[in-house]
């Protein structure tokens, strides 16, 4: 490149063509134009061809009657009155249901196993190690088949279900339990529950301040728990027990009535939870080990016992290391839930990319929508985890 400063060139006379800046712009513009043309022409050509072959012909199918049934659904859906669009929401909600419960359970299990692996108790730490190594090194699909075919299917048939206390029945069609029927007065119990939560928060803030001022510690956990359980319970009895149960009855084939939790859901949930917990355990272990030993020693020197040391000193620092990989595991769990298709749980992929795709034949549209949904779920999860991470990140002073 020329090292002559631009001021020495007389601005009016120099041709624009030789101005390196202008030339740069021209080149970049040309490049963008070519790339844009490339993408546009490839896309329009593809769309043209797909339309000609009748592979992609738009989203007109969305409002057409579905005509099939789904057994597990969170919103009303029936073959007679529902559309493919509603089938999409049935699948989406089922995916979100299994993913959200799976995330919560796998976090608890993962933290428990991760901490156990570092425990000084030899048996506990070895058991945690075996768990992690076995679960983490087997393909998830096989584990799902194991839970579904080897654990849940051999349960007795519907006509000789295992009866558990409290009118709960267990058979190879799932767990059938009493279905709560709420009388109008039950609202008061719900209100009491929220009041109790607010009260617990108020108490917690007060006790925190009290501790900062005087150093007195209150048993926050047990008092909050007593509030949240006790208050609604008292209201429940005052309101005259506004809750009845629809008990399962033996029908010709299945138990009728009651609330049924299907084996496909249980198998998927157990599979996803245990599998992801194996990874989370390792993330937690890595996070805790990343906190230097000096921190623990300092806490001990201050007279903190093992429990508070972990809770107040080690975990908060470990969280900074844990959160980013934890996010990845949450995303993986959500995406892995699409393996539901193999064991017949009607998640988004099973219902929408399976049945709907097949009945309509609109493969491209359906697959594109499904991809967009998973992308959205993942981005939203990442967003929240990033916000949480920012709050937990080291604040440099």
């Amino acid at each position: 490149m020329s090292t002559i400063p631009t001021e020495t060139v007389q601005p009016g006379k120099a041709s624009l063509f030789y101005d390196p800046r202008i030339r740069g712009y021209v080149y970049q513009f040309a490049l963008i134009a070519v790339v844009g043309f490339l993408i546009w022409s490839a896309a329009s050509n593809a769309i043209e061809n797909l339309r000609a072959q009748k592979i992609a012909s738009g989203l007109g199918f969305w409002h057409n009657a579905a005509g099939f049934d789904v057994n597990q659904k969170l919103i009303p859906f029936s073959a007679s009155g529902s559309t493919y669009g509603q089938a999409f929401y049935v699948g989406l909600l089922n995916t979100l249901l299994v993913a959200s419960i799976g995330i919560v359970l796998s976090t608890f299990l993962g933290f428990f196993v991760g901490v156990s692996r570092l425990s000084s108790n030899w048996v506990l730490s070895k058991l945690a190690m075996i768990y992690v190594e076995v679960i983490r090194n087997l393909p998830l699909l096989l584990q799902l088949f194991f839970w579904y075919n080897a654990v849940l299917k051999p349960l007795p048939g519907a006509r000789n279900s295992i009866a558990l206390p409290g009118s709960i029945f267990l058979n190879n069609r799932g767990i059938i339990m009493p279905n709560p029927q709420f009388a109008p007065a039950f609202e008061f119990v719900v209100i009491a529950f929220f009041v109790a939560i607010v009260a617990a928060i108020v108490f917690y803030t007060w006790s925190k301040k009290q501790q900062e001022r005087t150093g007195t510690q209150y048993p926050n956990g047990s008092i909050s728990l007593a509030l949240i359980i006790g208050l609604p319970l008292v209201v429940y009895f005052i309101a005259g027990q506004p809750l009845t149960f629809d008990l399962p009855q033996q029908g010709t084939f299945n138990l009728t009535g009651g609330l049924q939790i299907y084996p496909e859901f249980v198998a998927l949930l157990i599979g996803l939870t245990t599998y992801t917990a194996g990874f989370i355990a390792e993330v937690v272990r890595a996070g805790i080990l990343a906190v230097s030993k000096g921190q623990t020693e300092a806490a001990n020197a201050l007279g903190l016992r093992a429990g508070p040391t972990l809770k107040l000193v080690v975990i908060p620092q470990a969280m900074r290391v844990i959160i980013p990989p934890l996010t990845s595991n949450y995303l993986n769990l959500t995406k892995n839930s699409s393996l539901a298709v193999a064991i017949g749980y009607p998640d988004l992929v099973q219902v929408f990319t399976g049945t709907v795709l097949n009945q309509t034949g609109q493969a491209l549209e359906v697959v594109a929508i499904t991809m967009a949904v998973y992308l959205t779920i993942s981005l939203v999860t990442s967003l929240f985890m990033n916000i949480y991470n920012k709050r937990m990140a080291l604040v440099e002073r």
Partner: protein
């Protein structure tokens, strides 16, 4: 930079160029130049399309493809079978991955029209049935109120099931699986009280159960399931070839021309047989093949009746009666227009 531009332009040109070419030439020309027929078959259904112990595909749907290959190449082995699930079968055909789809596909109006496909005939008249355990002591589908029913998702079966139970105001629980194998496994393990699919499929799948005698197929047939070979819209020559391959096999059965006696029949004075076997007229050339096209089909694959008996009839384990699939002359529905 210049090199990049050149490369980009080449890529752009290719992207624009692809696709146009495929639609231009006909399927027959493509198949001929490729030297092999690409046939979309099922993922394995005894009697209809399943590789045997030696890896040779056999079945009545498979014979449809072999017959087309025999008519074009005089060699029934010039077929590549591409196993397709219920889910990806139509996209494969639409995109040109397969030339012909022959895998127990039900002819419906939406498939025939909005998917851009053409059904070339009906090689098996089927209907949806139910299989249950004998020990349930049930003799009718109407007694299945409240039952769990296993089915394969994405099939017309799933829709008929919903229609039938709705029409009869019966409650039921559907458990749908992506693959047929998983569906049958779920039924066998007791997850469901009944398994539903096309009646032919029920007989075929019953053989795969550990104790076939413990299961019965209920008498009700709840739907019309005309199964047949499928081709793409917009290639009439190819549609004619597939359609008339099927008709040639039917006409051969009607005229008594079999794999064994076809050489002898070449000398037959019967004008209908002469037209079929190409000793009179130029009917083969009219569909872009040679005049001995039907001779080739019968010589290599046999007539419709032979294909039926060998794969799903008395000569097979399935032992399905001809029933609706008998020739029209014997009270069935199989009827072919004349060659003239």
């Amino acid at each position: 930079m210049k090199k990049f531009f050149a490369a980009a332009l080449v890529v752009a040109a290719t992207a624009v160029g692809v696709g146009g070419a495929q639609a231009q030439t006909g399927t027959l020309a493509q198949v001929k130049s490729r030297g092999i027929l690409h046939c979309g078959s099922g993922t394995g259904l005894a009697g209809f399309g399943l590789p045997d112990a030696q890896g040779n595909w056999t079945g009545i749907d498979v014979d449809m493809c072999r017959a087309v290959a025999a008519a074009i190449f005089d060699d029934p082995a010039k077929v590549k079978f591409i196993p397709l699930s219920a889910k990806d079968r139509f996209t494969s055909l639409q995109s040109g991955e397969v030339d012909l789809l022959s895998r127990t596909t039900t002819w419906t109006m939406s498939r025939d029209t909005s998917l851009g496909l053409n059904f070339a005939g009906i090689n098996y008249y089927d209907g949806q049935g139910f299989m249950v355990r004998k020990k349930l002591g049930i003799d009718s589908v109407l007694k299945l109120a409240g039952a769990s029913i296993c089915t394969q998702q994405g099939t017309t079966t799933e829709l008929n099931l919903a229609d039938y139970f709705r029409a009869n105001k019966l409650k039921y629980e559907v458990v749908a699986f992506a693959s047929n194998t998983e569906t049958v496994k779920a039924y066998e393990s007791g997850r469901c009280d009944a398994f539903t699919t096309d009646a032919s499929g029920l007989y075929a799948e019953r053989l795969t159960l550990s104790a076939p005698a413990d299961h019965i197929v209920l008498p009700e047939i709840i739907s019309k399931e005309p199964l047949g070979p499928v081709v793409r819209h917009g290639d009439d020559v190819w549609l004619d070839i597939v359609k008339w391959t099927h008709f040639a096999m039917l006409n051969a059965e009607e005229l008594g021309v079999t794999k064994a006696n076809v050489d002898e029949m070449m000398k037959s004075p019967n004008p209908e047989i002469k037209r079929l076997l190409g000793t009179e007229g130029k009917y083969g050339e009219a569909i872009g093949l040679t005049n001995d096209w039907a001779y080739r089909i019968i010589k290599h694959v046999g007539n419709y009746g032979e294909a039926f008996e060998r794969n799903i009839g008395q000569g097979s384990l399935l032992k399905i009666a001809r029933g609706q699939n008998a020739l029209w002359t014997k009270g069935g529905l199989q009827y072919a227009p004349p060659i003239r």
